[in-house]
Every structure is written in C-alpha cells, then in structure tokens.
Symmetry: C2
DNA sequence: CTGTTAGCGCGTTCAA
DNA sequence: TTGAACGCGCTAACAG
C-alpha cells in the first residue's frame, strides 16, 4: 500500500505549483496546454483520485444520493432500488442504499452518517417503528434535500411520493363484496404508518358502505414470514366466524396462508379468496395465481428521483411540502 | 436552512477555545467536567454533527463499508445484503449498498466514488461484464480493504468467499444421472465468470464420469427473466434430441421453463426434471416444488464481513490472498 | 485544565 | 499563464 497521491505530489514532481495542478485537473482554460497535458498524463499514470473530503470540506456537495429502505429483500423495495439506481446513474448520480431493518435506532444512525458525510440528497421510506421524525428534520436543518416515498412522516414539510392505498383497498374490498364474499378479513402492518392506516380505512369504509357487519382487522407488528402466514390462517379458522376472503399487505404472509389452506383442504377461491399487495413473482407461479395489487415501482422511483434532483439543483426549495399520488392497480388473477 | 454549526461556533458562543470544544465532544479526560457538560449540552441543543470530511481529511477512516452487487433485486444478493447489513451494524459499521447493474462502466464509477470518499472497506461481487480488474486493484493502491464474494476477479490478491459450485453441480448432475435422466441440459451465465465456469465444469465432468454423450450447455448473456425461460424451453423442445432434465443458474429462467412446460403438457418430473440454484420463495409455492441448490447466504455474509473487519483493524494485511469455500446444499423437493 | 499553532488536500482568491 | 497565501473543520502536539 502506497501513500495516496495528492496534487502537491504531482506539483513537486513536475516542478509547478499545486494550484496549477489543481487548475489543470479541472480543465481550467487559464493554464498552458502543454502544462495541462503533462499534468493530466502524470495524474492518469499514477492513478490520481481527487480526495472528495477536501473538496467537500470547502462546501461543495458530492454526487451521491442516499436511499433508505426498511428492508432490502422485499420485492417492492428492491425493485424501486433497482430502478432508482439506474435513473440516478443516467443523471450522473450514484445511489447508495441503506437498510434500516425496521429499526428506529439504525435509521437514526444512518441519517447521522449521511449528514456527517454530506450526501447530495436522501430518498427514504421510514421503518415501521418510527414515530418520531426528529432525525429526518435534521436533514432539512443541514440543507440536505429529502423525498419520502411510500411510508412517510406526516408532520414533515417535504416532497412525498405516495400510493393511493385508501382508494385501491376500498376498490379491492368492494370487488370482493360484489363477488359475494361475506366475511372479509384484512391483514396489515402497524397502523401508525400511513400506508397501513390508509389501507385499513379503505377496507373499513368499503364495509360500511355496503353495510357489512363482519369486520376483522389484524394489525401485525412481527416480521412477515410464510410461517407467520400459516399460523395466521390457523388462528383465523379457529374462530367462530371464519373469513371467506382475505386482503393482505404481505406476499409472504399470503403464501403461508395459501399453503396452509391446502392443508385445510380449503379451495381457493371458492372457500377462501385472496388479494395481496405487491408484485412478488411467487404470486404468478402459484396455483391458483394470486390476484394482486400492483404499485408501479417504476413510476414511484422516477417521481421520487425527479423531485429530489430538482431540490439538489435548487430548482425547487428545500422544506416545501408537495405530494404526488401514484395509482396502484388490481391485477385480476385466479384467487378471487 | 441554517448554516451548519461547527466547533468554532460552539467555542465562540461559550467563550472557550475550539480545541477545548473538540476535546469535550470526544470525552477527552483532560477537560473540566463542567466545561465538558456545558459543551455537550450546547452541542445537543443545537444538533451539532461532526463534519466527517474534516476528520477524514486528517487520515482517519470512517465506519462506512461499501457493498457492491450486480443486482439488488436478486434473492441471493438481497439476502446477503440484508444479513451483512445487520452483522456490520452490530460491529459498529454502516453498510452502504451499490448496484453495478451488471455494467462495467457503473462498476468503475462506483469504485471511484468509494475511493474519493475514503470508505472503510469494500465487499464486492463483480458484474458479468467485468473482465478487467484494474479498478478493483486501485482499492489496494489506496489502502482500502477488499473482500470478494461469489463472483470474483481471478487475478487479485485479496480474500474471497466462494461457493463450491464445481462440487455441488457435479453432485447435482450425478444425482440426475442416478435417477435415470439421460439428456441433461445446463443453463448458466457467461463462463468467464468463476461461478458459471465452475458450474459448467462440474456439469461436464459428471457427464464424462458417467459416459453420458448428451451434453447441452447454454451460456446466456441476457437478463434472466421468466419470458426468456419460456423461450428457452421452446427452443430446447424444438431440437431433435430434447432434454429430459435441466440444471439452471436462474430461478426466473426456471420458473419460465416450468410455466412453459405446463403449456407443452410436459409433466414435472416425469418428462422433465428441474434443479435450480437459489433460495427464491417462488420455488416452494410452485407445484411441484422445485429442487434447489441453496448457497447459505448467512454464512457467506458473515465470513465476508469477518474477513473485511480483520483487514480494517489491520489484524490481517491488505493485499493477501485467502479463499474460504462455503458449501452449497441440494434441497431435495419434487421436481426431480 | 486550557489555549496556540499547524496541517490534512483542495480550490480560490489576489498578485505577479 | 503561474505562484503565493488563505481557509474550509477538525485534531494533535506543544506550551502554558
């Protein structure tokens, strides 16, 4: 391991001043062509790399955008990450992804790292344990642009890209009602999070509209797994009034339910209808294929980045609220 | 947006020298308790955050580790990312994930960003288009520790965590042969990558050992999708000698094959056996469930981080080769 | 216990 | 066209 080469090293070696080297490296026109070529050749030869810490210390921001998600290995998030990374790269930015692991403390640590390192901007979806937005507000304090997508903090003045969860869940519930299902259950996450709360309201209001008295909402705070899904169905079928349809926020949970339904000899969709949020590939290789609610990840990713870039380039002020709603869509398959 | 608060600001406000503030903030014992409390209180009150650019400029490395993967939305990688993030966090590091998108230019840009920002270390799996390791070697030049996992550059002196792809593919092929399958095909990625090359060798050598003359290897360089899988089976079934078993490197491809097999009225496993690499959940909700080759992501993640941490703490020198082999495992299910 | 000073690498003055 | 000097925020070495 050799010592990192600096502009001073180059200057000394070529008998010019380091400020001349600095100018040459940035193609400043006020430098002799031959000097510049000499410097550039030497720099390339010796793998010179700007020390961004020095540059950023002087107040210049970098081209790295932080993306914070609760879980990287969820189809919804990993698809968004993937699209966002590509969109940003085309605009000259590098996306750096952080996983909060649904953990408040980690989320705070991540934000602190981002501030300490002067990232250009942040795109985030909050953890399900986040009830305090102080750390996100810090970003504003430090002049770092922030865009929320999907899960957000209500009390913050910042752009948000959200899914019309209320409307689509209302629509899905109504669809089940019109199909003749009578006892529709709803499985979702902690309802202090906007996403899950919107879904719950959509579900409840559809029931009210159609004067359905059976209402069963399960708000789960554990990690969604296939095993948990199996257990859920076992519990649900143990009750007096068993549901004949389930709207669920988690593909894994629903897969577990479907597997358990087989063991119970429940026919899907005759005995039990299923609708699930997400685009997990498992839903289309299952038999029957699951009816899903698709939340166009491409559109969310593009919108979020577009908003962030405007803030980075100061085309849009930091700390101004603005909400973009993306339409989810029911993909009708065989499970209803 | 207010100006970022610095130790000098605090010093001026509290009528002490900024070096005292610096000491107080780092709990240096050589500072009066009351002074320290005053400083800490003021800092907390005003959301002071260390400017890491200044700290790193002085040669101290940060606690951020970069993780480079070809694709974030592949189960194998997203599982590793998830575990690695948690393992690193417990040791006091923050993982920052970059996606090369199987693109050489992006990979180079990512490495440059990492060098410019002085990351503590790098854990990487190379893109399928990478044939030159110059950019990775640069990391060594700049004293940034590097650990490869899964896909690596042959010609580099650095720790590597690899899967025993040769042995496990040999075993899988032999398993199919012993089950009586006669025309076994192999679908994989570009074989200049160690992973795919090892699998190809394992496949071929098993055929040779058992004197099988039917050999059909397809080396695909496109993105693996369900659609491509369907097309693959269409092509394969168009040939004179149709395979009766397929070992595949991609879950998506294999899902496509399974779906297309249904349309062809091919029974699995009677007419067509399938074995696929990976732990994608789709493989266990399908009917029949797919026999898979599982490559313990936990173990890979833990080993890779352990090695990297040793290099970061200088317990192990940078630029020294060392290969850890992780054992993959065949999960026997219904598709063979 | 606290203050002074210097320097990390860079870019931007201002001067020549 | 080039050089000299300064400062971004921080810490370490030294002085008091």
């Amino acid at each position: 391991m050799q010592k990192r080469i600096t502009i001073k090293d180059i200057a000394k070696e070529l008998n010019v001043h380091h400020s001349t080297v600095s100018r040459a490296l940035r193609n400043d026109p006020r430098v002799n062509e031959s000097t510049r070529d000499m410097v550039l050749a030497y720099a390339r030869e010796h793998d010179y790399q700007t020390n961004m810490n020095a540059v950023q210390l002087r107040g210049v921001t970098n081209n790295t955008v932080a993306l914070i998600v609760p879980n990287i290995n969820h189809t919804f998030f990993s698809d968004i990450i993937s699209h966002l990374t590509n969109a940003a790269y085309e605009s000259g930015y590098i996306i750096s992804v952080f996983q909060s692991n649904e953990d408040f403390a980690q989320e705070v640590d991540i934000i602190n790292t981002i501030i300490k390192q002067n990232y250009a901007g942040v795109i985030a979806s909050i953890s399900s344990r986040t009830t305090d937005s102080k750390h996100f507000k810090l970003l504003n304090t430090f002049g770092i642009p922030l865009v929320f997508f999907d899960r957000m903090c209500d009390d913050m003045q910042t752009p948000k890209v959200l899914v019309n969860n209320y409307e689509i869940t209302f629509e899905a519930t109504e669809y089940l009602i019109n199909k003749g299902y009578e006892r529709i259950a709803h499985l979702t996450g902690p309802t202090h999070i906007n996403v899950f709360n919107d879904r719950l309201r959509g579900y409840t209001n559809a029931l009210v509209k159609h004067k359905h008295t059976f209402e069963l909402n399960m708000e789960l705070d554990e990690e969604f797994t296939i095993e948990l899904g199996k257990q859920c169905l076992i519990n649900l079928m143990d009750a007096n009034e068993k549901p004949d349809a389930i709207i669920s926020s988690s593909t894994l949970l629903t897969m577990g339910i479907a597997l358990q339904a087989r063991e119970f000899n429940l026919r899907i969709p005759e005995d039990l209808a299923l609708i699930v949020f997400g685009n997990h590939l498992g839903t289309i290789v299952m038999q029957p294929q699951l009816t899903t609610i698709s939340q166009s990840e491409y559109e969310i990713a593009d919108l979020a980045f577009e908003l962030l870039e405007k803030m980075i380039t100061r085309e849009m002020p930091i700390g101004e609220a603005c909400t973009k709603l993306v339409n989810a869509q029911i993909i009708y398959r065989e499970s209803c």
